[in-house]
Point group: D2
Chain length 400, copies 4
């Protein structure tokens, strides 16, 4: 393992999360210089995290002689410019989510880093939560059979910074902000090689007086037949709702990353202080998260990025993944407008074909077995279908 020296671009909430992760615990990789458009914010950030230097010159930060990795933690509309600068500098680049404001922009960035031959990682933290990583290992080990359906939900009362609300700067509303997480979580569970075929999406602006969606629900149909479903909202009340559900032919997984993680507190409202990201109150029943940067995946994300960089391999989340996510989001916006299923348009799908979810019906006495149930008396009840007439019948048989 090498120790890396980092240029941090951006001093917003995400910059704090990233630096808090890198400088937390016993990490060997440290931020060497931070860039902010505002001198004051840059200096405050520098002092907050014990960073040697801050600057308002992005190119200088990127080309700083002592750093080998650049983290792009800027608003969406600045990603492409920043990534181009880093590629030119020949350094490793790690870019926050979403990669672009559109698939076109993301594709441009993908091409940029691939042409330059620099290491590039897509900072999709929620695919790295410890729960997700362990759940994915279980899925890959076959513990729930073949995945048939994944629901990923992210909802809270809306982002903290003004630029998030301006679709011109971000590329959209709640989908671009939150849906990018959900889409990649879904892909992680159905399999990254499982091609997203088409999308159906409904959006609405229900509460906030903005031009973009503050609510959206979408379905994503994958090549295997698996169905992805995401729900995103900037109008949720009660904190931050971050849940995933995975259904398989042989099992089920439910993950709750925020409001119900085994930490419950009631406070009469005395004392006080920071409870958790997006918490609405500091009185009554509160549901803090133990260590947010671990639970939200930042720790394992950076470990994977630097491990891949050190080993000359690809990280779990690449710019190509970011591009696929943007392509799915583009299809969502097209679908919300056309009110129809829209194909996911991908230039160059980088995986082989995924077969349909397997269904190998058992037969019994010339009939198709629809279901088996063990009865209280120990016998088994079979529900059978006659393959000729299509009629169904029950049959009780001994044993299980």
């Amino acid at each position: 393992m090498n120790a890396h020296s980092i240029t941090m671009l951006g001093t917003g909430l995400i910059g704090d999360f990233y630096t808090s992760t890198l400088h937390g615990q016993r990490g060997r990789d440290l931020v060497r210089v931070v860039y902010s458009r505002s001198e004051a914010r840059g200096e405050a950030f520098r002092d907050r995290w014990g960073i040697p230097e801050s600057t308002t010159d992005m190119a200088a930060a990127v080309n700083h002689p002592d750093t080998d990795v650049v983290v792009v933690g800027l608003p969406n509309f600045l990603h492409e410019e920043a990534v181009a600068l880093v590629a030119q500098a020949g350094k490793a680049v790690l870019c926050t989510k979403p990669l672009g404001r559109s698939a076109q922009e993301a594709r441009l960035m993908l091409d940029t880093v691939e042409t330059a031959g620099v290491f590039a990682g897509y900072l999709e933290d929620l695919c790295y939560t410890p729960k997700t990583l362990k759940a994915v290992r279980s899925v890959e080990a076959g513990a729930i059979g073949e995945v048939t359906w994944v629901r990923s939900r992210e909802a809270h009362p809306g982002p903290h910074s003004a630029w998030f609300w301006d679709g011109r700067l971000t590329g959209g509303g709640a989908i671009v902000d939150l849906g990018c997480h959900c889409i990649e979580i879904i892909r992680t569970f159905v399999g990254k090689g499982n091609r997203p075929v088409e999308v159906m999406c409904h959006t609405d602006t229900l509460v906030h007086p903005i031009a973009d969606e503050d609510n959206a629900v979408a379905l994503i149909r994958f090549e295997s037949g698996a169905l992805g479903q995401f729900e995103v909202s900037w109008t949720f009340r009660g904190g931050m709702d971050l849940r995933d559900e995975v259904a398989g032919t042989g099992g089920t997984i439910w993950l709750n990353h925020f409001l119900r993680t085994g930490f419950e507190m009631f406070s009469a409202g005395i004392g006080g202080g920071y409870v958790a990201e997006k918490a609405e109150t500091s009185a009554g029943w509160l549901f803090p998260v133990g260590d947010e940067v671990t639970e939200l995946g930042y720790v394992d994300m950076f470990s994977d990025m630097f491990r891949a960089l050190d080993e000359g391999t690809q990280p779990r989340e690449t710019f190509y993944d970011g591009y696929v996510v943007n392509a799915i989001m583009d299809a969502c916006y097209r679908s919300a407008k056309s009110r129809a299923w829209e194909p996911v348009e991908l230039v160059g799908w980088r995986a082989p074909t995924t077969p349909r979810i397997e269904s190998a019906p058992e037969t019994f006495d010339g009939q198709v077995v629809i279901k088996r149930e063990v009865m209280p008396d120990g016998r088994t009840k079979l529900i059978l279908k006659d393959p000729v007439s299509g009629d169904f019948s029950d049959r009780l048989v001994a044993g299980s």
Copy 2:
């Protein structure tokens, strides 16, 4: 309160649930005669529940001189015939869900009872669970503001009886079996007078070798802008998943009716016995429900039905509601086929217009307030939108 004497049509699982409810606790209404197509099943049912008579003659059961109420607990394809018989007999009729196999069939039943002038109730138990009833009172009292989104989910490994799997007898697959519950739960939360406008539905047959859907997801758009979302499955693993979520402009409600209700048991698999409806196992971690007939709404459902009958009013769930549910399910099947939003076709919508969910943006200093956040230092951060330029900005102000 009068004591009612009941004809029970049907001796399947639902007949057991109904009679267990009626004959449980200290109820005053008793089953007087039970009808089954099978003499043996009728007699077993009669003995199990201490019912005076059983018969294989449906007309005789309906016209039994000592009963004033007939409960239809038969397979779907027999509802219309049974309801017609009861209407002819001039008795009150309570029909299990779904009302019909299609809106057309349901409409016929609705017309039949209205023409005959008999009392008719739609036995949609899940709208009567104690949690649902209390949650609805909270919603009606305004505790969560205006409802923007309702998710209702019902999933289990598939029904227990053969006829459920035969779409010719039922009208479909998981939607007709489970979606009818979800739809009416959604309507209950968004308001029964809130017209369901259109539907988008995706169905698939993923696991069981049958002709109908074993999985479906649907969106229902209501006149107010509220969005209903249901997920039904006959392929869920782990028991019976019965959850509802309601989002409002001022709050959130989460209901869990089955697997996580405050009753958790680990058993090494010794001893044994019935745990809960649709439980898959009797070893390991189990999540029984205390009193299923109460928790699933049967108790409050029959109380409401008989109260309405006694008072000459309408119950919460009428044949008209059953008809609306069937109309929404018809639209779901059309949408699954057309792969597009389909209008909900209703003959005679019986409610006035529902206004759009209200959004009354606050202004501050000539700017539109997008969001308010109380900061750790007690100040309030406003996110503002310039109504002319459309630009967004942050502003910190004193106080909350």
Copy 3:
């Protein structure tokens, strides 16, 4: 089933719960007359529940010619007097918890009803919650093996009425108010025939300026070796904490009766209204209970009482049980003072001897097997003890 006509003594919170239960749903048993010390409260109660008559004359209420059952819902210091009146009247008597302020007073009541030969039931609702009843059936069926430990906890911010706080009127503090529930829940799980041998109890008055305990923890050792543990508090913050845990040699049961029952609501504090017994707030995250009279056991309790009365049998909870509970509470108070284990003094234990929890150690190759564990590779790891040297060792063997 006969329909019973009831005299209700008392119009406090418990009288409301009882009458709400009896007059709820489709019950056949109705309150005919209510007694209150206050004319105004009696009339309000009468009107609230549609009761024909109210009176301030307790003897007249008890002897009312139309009633056959008297429910004692009065403060503790009036139980003995009321029970004596009912016994004299030769009617069935159902008395709220605790039976007496001391074992001596409870014993007097027990003797009174037994001498008079009247039916007597002890209204210990929490032993009748649907979860408890089902859990007890599982325990009795052997699903968790032999019970080794039961924890019962009841805690809230303190009672609603003034008299509860006056130990002269009640017999003590939180133990007499809440511990009586816990003790009987514990007895129900370890077995009513399992003699409570001795008690160790710690009490303190931590928050409220009163003479009696507002916090207590106690251990109860039973004849089988099973350990009961109760925790009661009038200083809990966050609502009403009502949980039981049962450990067995072959399983575990966790029951949560109030704050986490699958009903979760966040409200911005708009709208409002009654949420649940002992709730502290109507904003933020709230955890209502669906149907309190069912969930707290009142419905099943009255069903059992009237069923037993109709059938001439004993209800689950008798005056003898109430007496045993008082005897255990007396031992708790003695122990809190002596700071030592104190014997439970019972005049006339009405059950045979209970054997010690069975431990039948398996042997392997002449060694005692302490534990078996299945390893990831499918082999089994045995932890063995040499019966001679007392030395322990690990051994890996094939198979499970």
Copy 4:
């Protein structure tokens, strides 16, 4: 931050957890040499974790010229010898829990490191779980008022290695294995400067054929009046139960570290593999923990140890803390034998006096306010006590 080079003594489960933590993520501190009594186990461990060297010579490992920190991960009976060796070598020593088999042994170790002037840390991981650390910050910020009661519970089906079961080698049974965690968690919440005054403990051997306790419950009374309560068991069924509850005058905290942390999985038992420490099964409903070394506190524990070492300060958990824990466990064993409260005997209490939990009763109109309740109509109900007569009364007043 310096990078440390570590000697690891011991290759059991705890050695794996420690090394997995140190070598996980991007840590800068690495194990340089590992000692095991068994050459084979040492080599396997070395290879498993990529450690340069293994040895069977403990002194050589301790005195290895390249290491500056020694981690003692040996069975209890070897701690004293190992610590003495490290002190002699003048290196920093980090010793696993419990510190000694008795207070006397722990005191000896404390004196040894203090005399030698070496840095010494007590590896009590469960006081470092992210949930605990955040909860403690809330408590210290006053969010739940003054702590009145802490329950800490650790229970599982028994340890994995033979030596744990031999009280001669460990100093006892479940108390020495698990109670040491609970005691220090309790101390952390009531305040490390809050002197443990006396202890009441009940032990039993209910299931396993061993000489020491497999179950224990204990109460610890602190100088402030706060009550600690721990429950430990080697007979729990269902996995590992690791929960803490904290009650304060102004709030409540519930922590669940293992079985209910927002990760729920049902598996039909296909696939398979490691689920979680002490899991009993790999089928049915399973409750894995995301990242065990983080969730169980190992990550933050080592960070704190090395930070303190680097900064020349004390870690959160010192050998003195380990000594206090042993002293409390000694009192538990004395109490279990004497069946009475036993004083905690501490040589040299290193903190000032802690005042009694404050109770400052409010008065109203010359009466003592016992409780305030906001009524549904907005008025406040006061429960008042007359300071002269001791009588209680209710009073309704306007406002809240």
